[in-house]
Structure formats: structure tokens, C-alpha cells
């Protein structure tokens, strides 16, 4: 059942949710998903938050276990998994698609229980995107910005939020909100407007032809990688800003009172990513750069029934200090007519 409530009541609704709520809030010059607390500047209007909500499910670093080492003996204690319910509020369609990409990795056999616990305890409230940026190209990757796939979806129309629950979790959450029956036809109209806006964006008609498992070798061996990667600093900003990048490192940290084994985000852009004691197989930035885009556009779809691990959020376009990005790669290596 579609319901609606005045947009200015959204803070009250968030505050009424009895568990933790993670929402886009201002943090210095950035807008990030953080645990909402009274007095924070809520920024639901911000499309593509500076940090993606991926670190709610897959934190930048998290403890996995703790070891106590004494003489020749080792004692192991596991880190507790997430046990608290929480709500992720105001997630956009591209970031939700990214969760599905992460699910393919972390929930495939053998299941990553740290991730699975967080995923299970979360209820996702999505917000349809009425305000695309020039750098948005999510529709190319099968994302519908007007109809995110979540427990509850919100649409902003005029001074009201329209909302609908799609799962039991979502219905349970929404039943506690003060809402009224929705005016008919409004959301359909909003969806139509969103579609129009997205179709007019500069990258709306990006052609992905040829990016599939069948063209793996051809894409891998393309001489174009050398030039495409020339300016790359190997800083990994794109991987940190990316909602689907999930490569990680596992490291040990001596707390002085035992050993903390933690995992942290890692990046295929780093020179030590594949470095083994006896050498590395990706000696220069050309190979590392190629790996990132091949993985997103060719390797991942090849393993996952054609699902790309790019969601078209455009964050890498904004973040790269040298203005490199996935759109350039798609245009350079794609077979479709992408050149303007």
C-alpha cells in the first residue's frame, strides 16, 4: 500500500525508529552514511554520497579475531558478529545494486559470516533519484533510479514523501510511521519524470557491447591499456569510492596485549597487491589498471550471468585526481558507437 507523509516530518520518523539508523549526514565537507544522532545535518538530497554506504556492510576495517600468544601456545577468540538490527535510510538505487554485487561475492559459498550478519540485521529504506548528476549512468547497468529494490522505497513529490514497503521487514518498519493513504498517480508521474531526466544525461546511451566473457582475451590484450593507464597514480581512490570494490587485505596488529587480526579494504591499484615473497605478476600500473576495469566489465559478468560490477554511480569520475574513469575505458574498448 502506497502511503505518504510530509517531507518535513522525515527527521521525526527517523528519530522514532527504535534501532540504529544510518543515513546520509554532513561530516565536515563531506556527506557520508553515519549513525544518525540528534542535531546532525541530514542530507537526503545528496545523490552519490562522498563515501558509499558499502562500509555499513563491509567496513573499511574490522576486527576478525583476537589471538593471545604465550610461549608456544595460541588462544583464539572470534570477534562477535553483528547482532543489532539497524535501518539504512535514504540509499539510492545504484548503491542498492552495489549491495547485490557484494552479495554475489560475500554470500556465495563459503558464506562470509561477518558480512552476512550485517546484511541480515539491516532494513533498507531507499530513496528514488529525482535529481541525477551529469555523471550518473546507472541505467546502462540495469539499475532503475525510479524504482530501487529495497525493503521500503521513498519518492519525493512536492512537499511529501511517498512510500511503499516491499518486504515483511519493510512493512513492519513502515507500520510504525505516521502516514496517510497516498494520492493516486503521483508516484507514477514522478517515475516518468525521473526516466525522462535520466534519458537526457550525457552518458545515458553508453554502449556496453563486447564487454562479456566471450571477448575476454581480446579486451585483455588490447594495446589501448598502455595509454589509458598512463596518467594513473595508483592511488586507489577509485576503488575506495567505488560501491562495489570489495578486495580486502587481512593483517595482524600487535595491540601489546595480543594480536588483533583485522581485514581492511585493499586495492588492485596498489603495487603490493599481488606481491609474493618471490615476485609479482602485475609489475606496472598498466597491468593493475587493466585488472580493475577487466574485473568490473568482463571477469565479474563472466562469473555472474552477465551482471556487471559497475553500477554507474559516477563516483570514480568525480574522485580520480587525474580524471581517469570507467566511462573512458568503456568508450575506448567498447565495440558500440560511443564516440561523439
Amino acid at each position: 500500500m502506497m502511503r505518504q507523509f510530509p517531507a518535513n516530518q522525515v527527521k521525526k520518523i527517523i528519530e522514532s525508529i527504535p534501532c540504529a539508523v544510518y543515513a546520509p549526514v554532513e561530516d565536515g565537507a563531506m556527506v557520508v552514511f553515519e549513525r544518525y544522532q540528534d542535531g546532525m545535518e541530514l542530507r537526503l538530497d545528496k545523490i552519490c554520497t562522498d563515501k558509499t554506504p558499502k562500509d555499513i556492510l563491509f567496513p573499511q576495517w574490522e576486527n576478525l579475531m583476537h589471538f593471545r600468544v604465550e610461549g608456544k601456545t595460541i588462544e583464539l577468540s572470534e570477534q562477535q558478529r553483528c547482532e543489532e538490527d539497524y535501518v539504512l535510510f535514504g540509499v539510492r538505487a545504484c548503491d542498492i545494486q552495489a549491495f547485490k554485487v557484494l552479495d554475489r561475492v560475500f554470500l556465495s559459498d563459503p558464506v562470509d559470516t561477518y558480512y552476512a550478519a550485517r546484511r541480515e540485521h539491516g532494513t533498507i529504506v531507499a530513496l528514488a533519484c529525482g535529481d541525477p548528476k551529469e555523471t550518473c549512468f546507472c541505467k546502462n547497468f540495469g539499475v532503475d533510479p525510479a524504482q530501487p529494490d529495497a525493503d521500503v522505497v521513498l519518492w519525493l513529490a512536492g512537499d511529501d514523501y511517498y512510500c511503499e514497503a516491499y518486504t515483511d521487514k519493510g512493512r513492519a518498519l513502515m507500520s510504525t510511521w505516521e502516514t496517510r493513504d497516498a494520492e493516486e498517480g503521483v508516484v507514477e508521474w514522478v517515475k516518468g519524470e525521473i526516466a525522462k531526466k535520466y534519458d537526457a544525461l550525457p552518458f545515458a546511451k553508453l554502449n556496453l557491447k563486447g564487454f562479456d566473457g566471450d571477448h575476454l582475451m581480446e579486451k585483455f590484450n588490447s594495446p589501448k591499456w598502455k595509454k589509458l593507464s598512463m596518467a594513473c597514480l595508483g592511488c586507489g581512490s577509485c576503488t575506495f569510492a567505488c560501491p562495489t570494490c570489495q578486495c580486502y587485505d587481512i593483517r595482524d596488529y600487535d595491540t601489546g596485549n595480543g594480536i588483533q587480526r583485522y581485514r581492511c579494504w585493499d586495492s588492485c591499484m596498489y603495487s603490493d597487491f599481488t606481491l609474493m615473497a618471490h615476485g609479482t605478476n602485475r609489475p606496472t600500473q598498466v597491468e593493475r589498471y587493466r585488472q580493475r576495469f577487466m574485473h568490473k566489465l568482463v571477469y565479474f559478468p563472466s562469473r555472474n550471468e552477465g551482471m556487471y560490477s559497475c553500477v554507474g554511480c559516477g563516483r570514480c569520475i568525480e574522485k580520480c585526481p587525474m580524471n581517469l574513469n570507467i566511462v573512458k575505458v568503456i568508450k575506448a574498448l567498447g565495440e558500440g558507437e560511443n564516440n561523439d
Binding site: 573499511q60 596518467a231 592511488c235
Partner: protein
Amino acid sequence: MARIKQRAIELLSDGTVMRVIGWEKGEGNCDWSPALFENAAEMENFVYGDYAGANLSKYCLKFNRQEGKTLVVLKPCDTLSFRQLLHEHRIDREKFYVIGAGCKGMKDEKGGLLKCSACKGKEFEVYDEIIDDEEAQKTTALMDRMAGVIELEKMTAQERFDFWRGELSRCIRCNACRNVCPACSCIKCVFDNPASGVQSKAPVTDFEENMFHIIRAYHVAGRCTDCGECSRVCPQNIPLHLLNRKFIKDMNELYGDYQAGVGENERTPLTSYTKEDAEPGIVYERGNA
């Protein structure tokens, strides 16, 4: 731009150079990238102008060992970095053909670049030829280069500590500042040594993100030309150039004015000793102030 492009095509075609490092346009209007051009046809995409902010001298390290000469387009401030790399024997002069390109101050999508607001002048330190225009000579620095440092010096030690803790807390240790820095030319960085015990990927302790930048500033002291690339590329908008400028200001005050990357084979303040050098006591006093 047309003159630079034309000249580069000539030099490529007559075999003087085998490749050109310059810029190419991106998807929008302001997102130019450093780019490599290996023949006249590719030069079609070459651009030079308001959005050519990147300092291309660091890329010279990549091409120093390659066959033939590489043409590199450098702005006046970029030639300082190039000169500094020559000083340090990291690149060979004869491997590069330097076109000095006049600069009116560079921009990005948000407007004028921060580094350009403290422009260090219009002189080319190294060049094979200069392609300049009068317009470029007219623009000058908009602010005192040390203004930001002076502001910091006015703070109490605690305020300053809090300021840096706040700024550096955003650091994600991506190493973009290090990787873009022409003074960071080590083949193997000390922070990339897995045996160093420095965990480079996660801000496990506050100590690390603070120390990384402070140690880096020490490592480039006396060699940093203040090209400003560190702050320009920081994805977290940390004003890293302020650390370097503080060192420059201190060295100027203690050992006399010095600009890294100017002059040939000059000994730097930190690698030479004169009787006029400040006594250690002065340094201690300043530290306690």
C-alpha cells in the same frame, strides 16, 4: 595551444622525439588528463590550456629509460620539479625535449587551482624552447604563499595539534600525494616495506595517518619545490601543502631564502654547512615558542 600542438607534431614527425607527454580532454569540459601521444595522428587529441593543471615532471621518471627522446610540456612551476629531478640524477636531461608552456594559472571544475593562487612566477628553469604568450605574463600571485602557514603559527600548540588531527583524520592512506609528488622519487618507498611494521592500508591507529604525512614532509624538505600537487590530488581535501610550506618557511628563516629546483648543482640548505647556519639552540627556542 595550437602552436604547442603543431610544434610537437613537427618534432614527432622529424624523429626528434619518439613520444609526447601532454594532456587530453575528458568527458566533460574541465576533466583533462595527462596523456601519452606516440604519433601525429594521436596528437589530434592533444590539448593545452586552462585545465592543464597536472605537473607532468613526475611522469618523466617513467620514460627516462625508454628508447629515444620524450617531449614533455611543462609550465613554469613544473620546470622547477623537472630541474630538481635532474639535480637528484633521477632523470637525464638528454632524454627529454622540454617545451616550456606559458601559463595564466590553471583551473578545475570548481575554479582557479589553489596552487596557482600562490604562483611562483613565469620563469622557465629548464627548456628547449618556450611557447609563451603575453597574456600569461600578466597574471600574478593572488596571495602571500605563506599566509596559511602564518595563520597556523599564530595558533597555540594545542590548537595546531587539533587542526592537524582534524585534517589528517580524513586520510585514507591512498598515497595519491606520494605517488604524484616529484620529490617522492624513491624506487621503493619506506612505507611500502612490509617489514617496517607500518600498516599502510588501514588507519589502525591515529598515530599512523599523522606520522605518514609528517615523515613524508621531512623526507621532501629542501627538495620540495612547492608545486602543490599533493593538495590538488588529495581525494579527501587535506591541505598537505601547508606542511611543506612550513618547512620551506623555516628553512628560509634559518638558512636564507631558498627555492628548490632553481639553479644548477646548487647545494641545498639541508645538505650544506656554512658558518652562518643557525645554531641548534635557536631551533630549540623556536620549538618551545
